[in-house]
């Protein structure tokens, strides 16, 4: 990011005024102000915009781009955001943190807000891909209301980069009408039964962390292992079960709903959504352990619509809005203010809040797994095997 030299402030404001009045197109505006396709620089020109920040809430532009995970929002909330601010929300869905990182590394993602998982944030910071957050633009963010276990990772070296969205676990969902009366309770069951009575009906994530991590748990290794011999065991297992898989995809709800798939690695909220509509689908945490995680809202470096990005994050953090999100997607939040608005039934739901002994066995993902070349290559090899 270059921050030497500014476009003349007067000229910039002039063009901005013309742009706002609608007499020039966005492209003209970006071109003339020297921003070009690199709207990235808008960020560095922000000091010139500060005096206008007070107007921001009413004039944030007509769009905001959100990069997030599948089935992770109440779309009605977006519609209400659009009604309130005039900004449409474009949702881009991803299947893994690696994919998000790759897109940001290649430059020009065009995103305003993205949803990184706890263990990735330090890498985004060291790669200079994430913007420090200005808390004054997030009045709805009440840091003290959050359980620090699920909000810690947003702060790196004392700087706030991300605010908590939801937390959850990675277990599996199983259609119990096909389990022949013997329930699955562990990752050992998950993989062994896949080779047996669930053959051709199982899905695993297209995501190194969980697919490799859960295969590691089969052997009782750490979910985050980067030990070569342990990864070799996991790879052998994965390649052995591959012929028995229905698909390798992080978007497993449609197949589970249609009955094409009976068993899948599954995140809390997907488990809740499936179970709510089809009670025969159970959400199970592997007895050996697995992953507990926390997702965050963050703004990538060079976000083209920063005001809208802050407005969207702030809106989503509103306990009323957040509570509607939880009801819709079934992922717990670590925010006491939101929880106070949620019905008892949700707060006592064993899918959202698993028994303590199961929870204790879980691990947070480790930053090393994101950049470890062996894990990345292992998953790619498994998929192309």
């Amino acid at each position: 990011m270059t921050d030497t030299g500014y476009i003349s402030k007067w000229k910039f404001m002039e063009e901005l005024r013309r742009y706002r009045k609608g007499s020039v197109s966005r492209r003209h505006f970006l071109g003339v102000t020297g921003l070009g396709a690199a709207t990235a620089v808008l960020g560095t020109a922000m000091p010139a915009l500060r005096p206008r920040a007070a107007l921001a809430s009413s004039d944030i532009g007509d769009r905001v781009v959100l990069a997030t995970w599948p089935n992770y929002h109440d779309t009605a909330n977006f519609d209400m955001f659009t009604d309130a601010t005039g900004a449409f929300v474009q949702v881009n869905v991803f299947g893994s943190n690696e994919e998000m990182l790759a897109k940001l590394q290649a430059g020009g993602s065009g995103w305003d807000v993205f949803v990184p998982t706890n263990y990735t944030i330090t890498t985004y910071v060291s790669e200079d891909l994430i913007e420090p957050l200005d808390v004054s633009k997030l009045p709805n963010y009440d840091a003290d209301a959050f359980d620090p276990r699920f909000s810690d990772a947003g702060t790196v070296d004392g700087t706030l980069y991300a605010v908590p969205k939801n937390w959850g676990t990675t277990g599996f969902a199983v259609n119990t009408s096909h389990d022949g009366g013997t329930s699955l309770t562990s990752w050992k069951d998950f993989f062994d039964r896949t080779k047996d009575d669930f053959s051709g009906r199982t899905m695993v994530h297209d995501y190194q962390l969980t697919t490799i991590g859960n295969a590691l748990k089969y052997f009782g290794y750490s979910f985050n292992s980067v030990e070569e011999s342990e990864l070799a065991d996991a790879e052998r297992l994965l390649i052995e079960v591959k012929p028995h898989l229905f698909a390798i995809s992080s978007d497993y709800q449609p197949a589970m709903r249609s009955g094409d798939a009976w068993l899948t690695m599954c995140w809390t909220g997907d488990g809740k959504q499936l179970n709510a509509d089809m009670p025969e689908i159970a959400f199970v945490l592997g007895r050996e352990g697995g992953e507990v995680w926390s997702d965050y809202y963050a703004i990538p470096k060079g976000a083209p619509h920063r005001d809208a990005a802050y407005a969207l994050i702030n809106y989503m953090l509103d306990p009323q809005v957040n509570a509607r999100e939880v009801v819709a997607h079934g992922y717990p939040v670590a925010d006491a203010n939101t929880n106070a608005l949620l019905p008892e039934a949700i707060l006592n739901d064993p899918i959202l809040y698993p028994a303590q002994d199961l929870l204790d066995a879980l691990e947070f993902g480790a930053a090393a797994t994101l950049t470890d070349p062996n894990r990345a290559e292992l998953l790619a090899r498994f998929k192309s095997a």
């Binding site: 893994s96 690696e98 994919e99 990182l101 790759a102 897109k103 590394q105 290649a106 890498t123 060291s126 790669e127 051709g200 297209d206 190194q208 591959k242 898989l245 229905f246 698909a247 390798i248 995809s249 197949a255 249609s258 009955g259 094409d260 950049t371 070349p373 990345a376 290559e377 998953l379 790619a380 090899r381 998929k383 192309s384 095997a385």
Partner: protein, 283 residues
């Protein structure tokens, strides 16, 4: 201005464009293919053959591509030929154009959307459910190599029909009449007159489809469920998941070499088969 100078003037803009947008990128991936992956992904300069040594790790992707691309091409050809024949030889000229356009129209809907329609058709509540009603149970179609093959044939059929139609349409109908007058049965007329004359069209269609299939990514990604992997999918994974630009470059470069060799050999063969006529290639 001499003719020579004029020619250079005419050719220069295009040449410059090719240098920047084709020669440069290909040179970059050639150089990168001898490098190494950076600590958080990407590329760091090096000189190593490690990436090429690692190619067997993508053997299955290359194998799938080398099997399904020719298979898909042949399947598309076998389905397209009778239709093109019907359109060119047996159809009232008034209807010809309309029917031909109808073959191409689906091509204008995004391949993405069309493939998505196939996910629905081949999925559990589509065709398998219909088959179950007539008593055939347990048929699984979606996320299989067969689904990918269907998607391929469907996606590229128009590209195959068109050149075959053109070559058959150019065919002098009097030849067919002459052959019939000489007492040849329709089938032997077809074998001895029509088929040889339509070979250029078939060859062109096959090559077009084959080239596109070798780099295919979308259809296996959508209809293969992440299990039926082409080189294209391996490439996308290397750049968008494991962020290994060096190895990705080596895979890409290998794919280019394989294609150039296959296609060149193919064109030579066809040219020889067709007694040295040059109008076969798409060049």
């Amino acid at each position: 201005m001499t003719r020579r100078e004029r020619n250079w003037l005419l050719v220069t803009p295009a040449a410059a464009w090719f240098v920047v947008m084709l020669v440069l990128p290909l040179s970059v991936i050639f150089v990168f293919s001898f490098g190494e992956r950076g600590p958080a992904g990407g590329y760091v300069p090096a000189f190593t053959f490690e990436q090429y040594a690692n190619l067997p790790a993508r053997f299955t992707a290359f194998k799938n591509t080398m099997i399904l691309a020719p298979l898909g091409t042949i399947a598309a050809m076998l389905i397209a030929y009778p239709l093109a024949y019907q359109l060119a030889v047996r159809t009232d000229p008034k209807w010809k154009i309309i029917l031909l356009v109808l073959v191409i129209v689906p091509f204008w809907t995004s391949i993405l959307i069309r493939s998505y329609a196939w996910i629905f058709i081949l999925g559990g509540s589509g065709l398998p459910a219909l088959l179950e009603m007539v008593g055939i149970e347990g048929v699984r179609l979606i996320y299989t190599p067969f689904a990918v093959l269907i998607g391929i044939v469907y996606g590229y059929l128009p590209l195959m029909v068109f050149p075959i139609y053109v070559s058959l349409d150019r065919l002098d109908k009097r030849l067919l009449e002459a052959s019939a007058d000489l007492g040849a049965r329709p089938f032997s007329t077809f074998l001895q007159v029509t088929l040889p004359l339509s070979i250029p069209g078939v060859a062109t269609g096959c090559m077009l489809v084959f080239i596109l299939l070798m780099g295919e990514f979308l259809i296996p990604a959508l209809l293969g469920g992440g299990k039926v992997f082409f080189v294209g999918n391996a490439l996308v994974d290397l750049f968008l998941q494991s962020r290994n630009w060096a190895f990705g470059s080596a895979v890409a470069f290998t794919l280019i070499v394989i294609m150039l060799v296959t296609v060149t050999v193919y064109m030579r063969l066809i040219a020889r088969l067709h007694s040295g006529r040059q109008d076969i290639s798409i060049m």
